[in-house]
Every structure is written in structure tokens, then in C-alpha cells.
């Protein structure tokens, strides 16, 4: 089954977050993947793949293997290193996921910096050595956030067709739309989803016209 879009998750929590919360709820106790899958109400395979990654990252450890039949063993796990509220974002080999960090950094920059900025300044302030933010990424993110009503445009862009002429648009975060620490996401379905509010805050307008001419 394909993965559900983030907008479909109940309470804005993905399956891995639910699994992580179920694991944390057990504290130092021992648990099996089956117990976690039932407690979090997610598919068994989701727990299995996540536990493989968590184990490789050294966050959970296997403490017990019980042979329960000729072909099956039941594995007992224990939380080794609690990493807090957020479910660790891990790849299959246990390394950290970096996807999405660029937008998180841009969102942090918009929330922290007073005054307005353009795409180039945003890219410069949001970049780190580990996760650089490209100018195009900053332009893209600003454009979408502006469309979704997060930003106030303090100056419109003008005449950017020719090199060395015109001015880039400048934006600042609308204080009313400073919704929280998690960056608004631009989803593949061309909607803007705010994980802080667990809501789709912007969706393209589709009219009867589109049905005819699409």
C-alpha cells in the first residue's frame, strides 16, 4: 500500500511518531514489536523496519531472543537511549535523515531574524556547513509561504529579467502566522500543510474551468 500523504494522518502524527511514543511509554521495560504495533495501532511491518533502524542507530537494543517454534523467534527490545519527544528520523542503516532540514533552517531563520529579507539573504542565513540551502530553494520556499499567507511582502520584486537590474522581493514573517517550531510543508499535492496546526492552510483553487481544459 502506498504511503499516505501527511495530511491524512490523524492528529498530524505519522506511524513512526506513534511507534516512538509507544516505545517511550514503556520506559526501561522490555517489549516486543508485536506489543508496540498493537499499542500504536500501526502495521507490524512499520514497527519492524523502524526497529531495525533504531537498533542500528543504538537507540534500542535487543535484550532477549526466545525461540517460540521451530522457525520463529521472538525478540525482546529495550529502549537504550531516549531522544525526547520527537521520533528520531532514521534511514534504514540507522543514519540520520537530512531531508527537510533545509526548510526547517529557513523557517527558523524567518522566525528568529527581525526585519525583512530576500531569498539570497535567507539562503545565506539558513545555510549550515552540513546542510546548505540553495538560492533556488529559498526562492521556492518564500514564494509558497507567501502564497499561503505566512509572509508579508515588504517590497515587490521588479524587473528581474535583465542581469544587474531590478530588485528582488523582500518578505518578513507575519507575526500572526508564526504558528510554531515545525516548518510548514509544501506537499507533492501542491498544498501547504502546517504541522503545528495539523491543517492544510493553502490549496490551489480548482474550478470548473480546470475540469474542461486540463
Amino acid at each position: 500500500m502506498p504511503r499516505k500523504p501527511v495530511t491524512e494522518y490523524a492528529g498530524g502524527k505519522g506511524p513512526r511518531q506513534l511507534v516512538w511514543e509507544a516505545i517511550r511509554a514503556r520506559g526501561d521495560g522490555e517489549w516486543t514489536r508485536y506489543q508496540i504495533a498493537r499499542a500504536a495501532n500501526v502495521a507490524d511491518n512499520t514497527v519492524t523496519t523502524y526497529c531495525q533502524a533504531l537498533e542500528k542507530a543504538g537507540i534500542v537494543a535487543i535484550v532477549l531472543r526466545t525461540k517460540i517454534s521451530n522457525v520463529a523467534t521472538e525478540t525482546g527490545y529495550r529502549l537504550q537511549r531516549d531522544e525526547g519527544l520527537e521520533a528520531p528520523r532514521l534511514k534504514r542503516d540507522g543514519s540520520r535523515v537530512t531531508q527537510g532540514l533545509g526548510q526547517e533552517q529557513m523557517w527558523r531563520a524567518l522566525r528568529m531574524l527581525p526585519g525583512d529579507l530576500n531569498a539570497r539573504e535567507l539562503a545565506a542565513h539558513a545555510s549550515t556547513a552540513a546542510v546548505p540551502v540553495a538560492l533556488a530553494a529559498a526562492e521556492h520556499y518564500l514564494g509558497w509561504l507567501y502564497a499561503a499567507g505566512y509572509l508579508i511582502r515588504t517590497r515587490a520584486g521588479k524587473g528581474l529579467g535583465k542581469r544587474g537590474q531590478g530588485a528582488t522581493a523582500r518578505y518578513r514573517l507575519d507575526p500572526v502566522r508564526n504558528t510554531g517550531p515545525r516548518p510548514p510543508m509544501i506537499c507533492r499535492a501542491k498544498v501547504v500543510y502546517d504541522p503545528n496546526e495539523d491543517a492544510v492552510v493553502w490549496a490551489p483553487l480548482v474550478t470548473d474551468e480546470d475540469a474542461i481544459h486540463a
Binding site: 527558523r108 545555510s127 546548505p132
Partner: protein, 238 residues
Amino acid sequence: MSQIAAIYNLELVRTAAERLKNRTAGLPGIAALYGPAGYGKTTAALAIANENRAYFVQMRSAWGRKALLEKVLIEMGAQPHGTIPQLLDQVCEQLATSNRMLMIDEFDYCVRGDSLVELVRDIYEGSQSTLLLLGEEMLPQKLKRWERFHGRVLSWIPAQPVSLADVRVLAPIYCPGVRIADDLLDHLVKLASGSVRRVSVNLASIFETASLEGWDSVDLATWGERPLYTGDAPRRSV
């Protein structure tokens, strides 16, 4: 690849952050960055926050203890509920487990009375996490009143005034594609009286003028008598 705004203050804070993270057990875990407004404290803190995924809150004059704890919890993505001691426990637990740094900007608002200073010390003691405090020039002196707090600061970092080297780093970001001669850069540093913000504003305005005039490079003579932002209140002309 885009430029990183690697001003000198950023290097100072990064060194301090490294020291905090790699401190041996028993050493205090708080750093304080202080200096006049516009010296690039928040900009430097932003870069470090991005590198470490730190939690950042900007203190407000209206906040009491509960408000501060609630704002920190919201930054952590938690739902704050309960009494002040319960909120404190939640903050400490999340800081200790996630191992992320907590930054408090405008810390001056906390040093007006005992309650907030002691609360921040509680956060530190309860989590043994790393804290970065940002404040105005007099912060170290003000904090001396609380000896137990003062003693937990591992490094005091005075923010440095903007230098010619900083301006050279900032120029390609705020004024891309225009070569600015050294005499004009020097002039900008002098006008700024230490403020990174003023330099940035002036670089942006040079860029705008250069685009209009079609300049590829600009020096002090080309710039001439055009106005630059100094931050001074306007003088009366009549």
C-alpha cells in the same frame, strides 16, 4: 552554492558552543553572548541554532515564569499543561533526553528579579543541558547579583564590532555581483559604529543604487554624496 554569513561573532559563538558540548563532567554548561544591539548576536545565534537544532526563545518583558516555560515547551513541540513545577519537569526532561541546546534571547528581561533567574538556573540544574543566553552589554555585571548563577557560566562572549573582514563576507550576500572598492567598505565600517545591521542595510542600499545606475563596481568616489544609513536621529535643518 549559497554564501554563508560567516561573520566573526559566529566563529566566537561556534567555539563556545563546541566547548559547551564537549565539556568534561562537572564543568558548568552555560554560555552568555552579550553586546550592544545590532552587533549580530541573534544572527550568530541563528547559525548555531541551525547547526544544532537548538530551541530558541526570545524573552519578552511581559513574561513571567509560567509564560517562559510554556513558550519553551511550545518550541519543543510539546503541549504545555499543568503547574509551574510540572512544566519545569517537562522542559528539563526534554532538554536532557534530546540533548539539544536552549537559547534565550533578550535575557536582560530575566535579570530584573530573582524569580526568572532562579527558574533558568533550575532548568539548567534539572537538565544539565547546554544553555546560551543572549543579552545586552551590561549582562555580566547585572548577573553578578546571583552568584550561584554567575558561577555556572562557562564562557562569557563579548560580541565584537563589525570589522572589515566581516563586511567582505557580507558584501556578496547583500550586494551580489557588484565589486565594492576597499575605500567604500572602510567607510561602511566607520559609519556602522560596530553594528552588523547597519552594514547590511547599507550594502543592500548600495546594491539597489548599483542596479539602477548599472554599476559593476563602486568606490567611494562613485558613491559620492549619496546618503547612507547611520542610525542617528535626523538633525534639524531649519
